[in-house]
């Protein structure tokens, strides 16, 4: 069942009632059963796969803790291989097979490996990384193995986060699962408010923008460069609202049951550099990559060239984690390249800023940096969204040719232009207006959240202001949510 479904609401309310009606000692069991039902509702037999990963990492964790030296290392690699085997099989086997076939064809070899057909288990990349994180932390001695199989199973299966994270760390989630949670009205209320905000982002913005993005990216050959550019910008907001909306629902749902999950987004489109963007976007994955790949490779405490290599490897893995497609690999490498280039160009950029006295106008400088970072990130989204590298390059080329020509003919905007644009985006004036309006509302809230979260700001306001705000969000979801043709969360396919 998806978060944006009636089934989930029924399931959530039932689990909530059962959870708090059960003595604290047995509440983990309620959550484990609920989580198993939740996951099995997608593709029942894939639950066996999750339990396979759970058992492997659980047993290896216990054994590894008693080992030292080489044996400990061998256990770690056995555990990682065992936990990652389903991921390699389901997500990457076809990719390698396909590329071997292409290579064989190019070299005129008589080889054609069969492609396998199956549905990718939802959340596989997420729970595999969570299990690997658990094993590595035990190996490093930073985490004691969890002896309670039920609690460990819940650590992997916990329903708010199994489908698309946030990828929890054992040090953070396991102690919470082991301790009892008394009923806390304020926490529950805060969790529900966060879920509400997540539903707003998903149902009102992301699902509406998906109409335009699917329309344009579904037939790129028919779209003009300007339409492609606008739909790519809309995709930037769609993917943000889709994934951060999901994360808000997940974090909020966990909070309702008394658990704190890691925050996954921190107003990423207000970043002033690509490095900052990656500290604010999909934080649980970025920090996972940092802790388990970038730092073990040497991090930044190495020569400049090795640092560049470490960055590129980390982003390459991140890209490949997102999907078994060259588009994602290129997307990862492009992001890594941005960071490398930005470091190598730090001095000349500072020189230019000083030369044109931008340093004396900090607000303008900040705005320019935010805009430039957003533009660079938007370019990477083309590779993320396109069906193939070939298509992504075609889109880039089309934008590069058409947009300057369009800028030469620019005139004062007219309602007919707006109507034409809405029609080219395949969404009509109604949908486009709601999409733009709701993005404006969200960014306004983000601006207000500069210093502290909206929930904290609202907490000090009179009751009528707080309730009016929540009623307004509920009304907006009710009136402007895109319910028809329930859309899946984008990150579920990773």
């Amino acid at each position: 069942m998806m978060f944006n479904s009636i089934n989930f609401i029924i399931f959530f309310v039932a689990t909530f009632c059962l959870f708090y009606a059960t003595p604290i000692k047995y509440r983990w069991l309620v959550l484990l059963l609920a989580s198993s039902i939740f996951y099995a509702s997608l593709v029942p037999y894939y639950l066996l796969l999750v339990y396979g990963v759970i058992l492997t990492s659980y047993l290896v964790g216990l054994v590894m803790d008693r080992q030292a030296g080489v044996k400990r290392k061998i256990m770690l690699w056995l555990g990682i291989t065992g936990a990652a085997a389903p991921l390699l099989f389901y997500k990457y086997l076809n990719f390698f097979q396909d590329n071997i076939n292409t290579l064989a064809n190019a070299l005129h070899w008589n080889y054609s490996g069969a492609m396998l057909h199956f549905i990718l288990p939802i959340g596989l990349s997420f729970y595999t990384f969570q299990a690997i994180s658990y094993l590595v932390e035990i190996y490093w001695g930073k985490q004691k193995p969890e002896r309670h199989l039920g609690i460990y199973s819940l650590f992997i299966l916990f329903f708010p986060q199994i489908l698309a994270g946030p990828i929890a760390r054992p040090q953070s989630l396991l102690p919470q699962l082991n301790s009892g949670h008394a009923f806390n009205g304020d926490e529950i209320s805060n969790g529900l408010k966060l879920m509400l905000w997540g539903f707003f982002k998903k149902l009102v913005i992301a699902d509406r923008l998906s109409i335009a993005v699917n329309h344009v990216y579904g037939a790129t050959a028919d779209a003009s460069g300007v339409t492609l550019l606008i739909s790519t910008v809309l995709f930037a907001f769609q993917i943000y609202c889709d994934f951060s909306g999901y994360s808000d629902i997940a974090i909020g749902a966990a909070q309702v049951f008394g658990f704190k999950l890691m925050h996954n987004f921190n107003r990423p489109y207000f970043s002033k550099s690509i490095a900052e963007f990656w500290n604010r976007w999909h934080i649980s994955l970025s920090s996972w990559m940092r802790d388990y790949i970038y730092i073990p490779l040497g991090g930044s405490r190495v020569s400049k060239w090795k640092w560049a290599r470490n960055i590129l490897i980390t982003f390459l893995v991140s890209g490949f984690w997102h999907g078994a497609n060259w588009t994602f690999i290129f997307w990862g490498l492009l992001n890594g390249s941005y960071i490398v280039i930005s470091r190598y160009t730090e001095k000349p950029r500072k020189f230019i800023v000083n030369l044109i006295h931008l340093d004396k106008h900090s607000q303008i400088h900040k705005l320019l940096r935010i805009s430039f970072t957003f533009s660079l990130i938007t370019i990477t989204w083309i590779f993320f969204r396109a069906a193939s590298l070939h298509e992504a390059l075609y889109i880039l080329q089309k934008i590069a040719i058409d947009v300057p020509l369009h800028l030469l003919n620019i005139h004062l905007p007219h309602l007919d232009d707006y109507r034409l644009l809405a029609s080219q985006l395949g969404m009509g004036i109604y949908n486009l207006t709601i999409a733009i309006g709701s993005i404006a509302v969200m960014e306004f809230v983000h601006l207000l959240e500069r210093n502290r979260p909206m929930s904290d700001t609202l907490r000090n306001k009179p009751l009528w202001i707080r309730w009016s705000f929540y009623y307004a969000i509920i009304l907006a979801i009710a009136l402007f949510g895109a319910y028809h043709g329930q859309a899946e969360f984008i990150y579920f396919k990773f």
Binding site: I6, N7, Y20, F183, G185, I188, S189, Y430, N431, W467, Y470, Y471, I474, A478, L479, F480, G481, A482, Y483, H484
Partner: protein
Amino acid sequence: MRNFAVKTLLFCSPLLVLALLFNFILDGYFGNPLNWRPFEKMEWILTVKNQNFDYAFIGSSRVKYMVDTPMIDRSLHVKSINLGTDGSGFADNYLLYSSFLANGNKVKTLIINVDPYVLDSKHSFGYPFHDFFFLPRLHDENVSQTVKNISGIKKWLTWKYVPLAKYLEFNEKFILSFVHNLKDQDPQRVIERYENNAGADFITNVLNEPFPDRDKDSFVFDDTDAEYLLKIVTLARGSGSNVLLYAAPEYQGIEKFQTGRSESEARAKKFAGENGLTFLDIADKDIEQDSTFFRDWLHLNATGTRIFSQKIIDALK
């Protein structure tokens, strides 16, 4: 816990009251077909009241655009009506026809288009049952049962018992309808157009051959479609009407895009035999072989419709 429960109750109570109130208002507002925008054929059918017809033709767009009812009226000196609507399956037709009869209309002979498309509406039409159009009348037992059967019990329960849920799921249609209604045209123009044409619509533009290849159709004889066809027949017979079936023409060679066609047609013939129904013999190779009579593989243009309607007239004489 008690504090939380009281707060939740206080927060939700106004929402529930407002939802119930709006649900009531919107049911009344959209229960009136004159308030729908765009005001089109389905809406118009519900505004026809207390009339007697010799013939009524019902089905999908292959009826709406392909039966020239004014021509039939002139030739046979009768009064007929075209009840065909775009992309509709038999469940749509059934609810429309039952409302049509409930509005005091009487029909001597109901003529239904039956072909593999309407007997496999789930695959043939993008949205074969226009549930959203009937939702404001969910209190009607007939509508309620049909929605339950076609849209499924889960949706039916939600739409029926969760206040405003039905308006939320289709909020775009209802909001746009409301907004357009505030600024928009009087439906009178559409009413007059359909009244003058006895419900018929004609396709004037003509595409040149070759028609683009179609996606593969793999027909199955859908029992739910057959069930609703039988419901229409029973309803019509119960109101004293005679019932005839016919199959509208298609452009030759469409079979190459289809599988399961002959099985579906055989099942339809068997179904007709079992229920004492007869197919009008109006198949015409001359029409089916001439692309200038067609707008696409499945729809006749105005010229083709005139020729085909003459075949209907000849069969009804």
